[in-house]
């Protein structure tokens, strides 16, 4: 998959250069995670998408919530700060700092490069670039794991290695050639598929998806018919039933529990859909596929 980079081209080139140099010379030593466990102070940064900030030079002190407490950190080069959606941080811009911030939106990734000499409370400007078409699968998956990790303050090297991987994945997106970018419809369709794979256990529907992506519900149907050769609901059921198959095989849970954790509030309906797709009932599937396995 390829994506297009927009924003003033020199800006995007500068950001690619900075990120490339950074990754060649620097290893991530430490990742700070913010969360939303305290009330954000006035003018704190709170967004409905996750963000990653990466000081390149200098430092700025930053307040953030972590495990029910407000912490003040002073990240420098080699550190990264991951702020999941709805968590908060509050950077102080009074010192000299060059910082690269990644914004992981629904449809695109935005990058802001601030070079701030300090002195004023807010930097006067930033270089910005964005990658449209959201994510390729590696970027999306790494980000998903990092978001999971953020909830249980991980020890060990996983967080810093994943953060490095995420930066490499973003760099690859930024450098992919502009002219080979797939049609917008394909990119939107792929973004929706990834979203469904992440949210199938909640009450997603064609309407909630349309709302999330700011599309008309009919347009969602059309995308699936044209790009995926199936109906939206068939795709959603397929993702849910696949997960159910895995759970039936590996977890000792009741059908009702499995149905619920795959997004079906009605177990009878779940069984009907399962039978339609797999040609056997969930119970039959479990007994044939767990024979000899101790649950």
């Amino acid at each position: 998959m390829n994506f297009s980079v927009s924003g003033p081209a020199p800006g995007a080139r500068l950001i690619v250069h900075e990120l490339e140099t950074y990754l060649r010379k620097t290893r991530i030593r430490r990742v700070h995670f913010a969360d939303g466990t305290t009330v954000p102070p006035p003018l704190a940064y709170v967004t409905n998408f996750p963000r990653l900030s990466l000081p390149l030079a200098g430092s700025h002190t930053m307040e953030l919530a972590h495990n029910g407490r407000v912490e003040t950190i002073k990240p420098v080069r080699g550190h990264a700060v991951f702020v999941p959606d709805h968590a908060w941080n509050k950077p102080d811009w009074s010192g000299h700092v060059d910082v690269l911030t990644f914004l992981f939106g629904v449809k695109q990734i935005g990058i802001s490069l601030v070079r701030h000499k300090g002195g004023t409370q807010v930097p006067s400007n930033a270089v910005k670039a964005s990658v449209h078409g959201g994510y390729d699968v590696p970027t999306h998956s790494i980000l998903a794991v990092l978001r999971l990790l953020a909830t249980d303050s991980p020890k060990g090297p996983l967080a810093r290695l994943l953060t490095e991987s995420l930066l490499h994945a973003c760099l690859r997106l930024l450098k992919s050639p502009h002219n080979q970018s797939p049609r917008k419809a394909v990119r939107t369709y792929e973004s929706i598929c990834l979203y469904v794979q992440e949210h199938f256990h909640t009450s997603v529907s064609r309407e909630t998806i349309a709302d999330h992506f700011r599309l008309a519900p009919n347009h969602v149907s059309r995308l699936f018919r044209k790009e995926g050769f199936m109906r939206f609901n068939d795709y959603l059921n397929l993702v849910r039933v696949n997960r159910a198959k895995f759970m039936l095989q590996n977890y000792k849970m009741t059908l009702k529990e499995i149905a619920a954790s795959c997004g079906y509030s009605d177990p009878a309906y779940f069984c009907r859909i399962f039978k339609k797709i797999c040609k056997v009932t969930p119970t039959e599937y479990r007994s044939t596929n767990t024979a000899g396995v101790q649950l």
Partner: protein, 99 residues
Amino acid sequence: MKIVAVTACPTGIAHTYMAAARLEKVAKNFGHEIKVETQGAMGIENKLTESDIRQAQIAIFAVDIEVEGRERFNGVKVIQVPLQEALKSPENIFSKIQR
């Protein structure tokens, strides 16, 4: 009232998006219809079309930097406020409009 708005902050990281959300929410409480374009690090999102702008009675710029494509708003009444006002007291902006 039909309103269009643009939000933009220097870093384009968070306040742009937070201000847009505040304006949308408060406009609804005042019974206005609003569409907010964000000019942040993710590029221009929810872009205002020519007809959005033509139909609007007023445009709000909650910005701390230059608005991209300002010429689109020629002939529309524009009020410009510092971005922080949209975050701290968005109600004031709308009461100003009503007067």
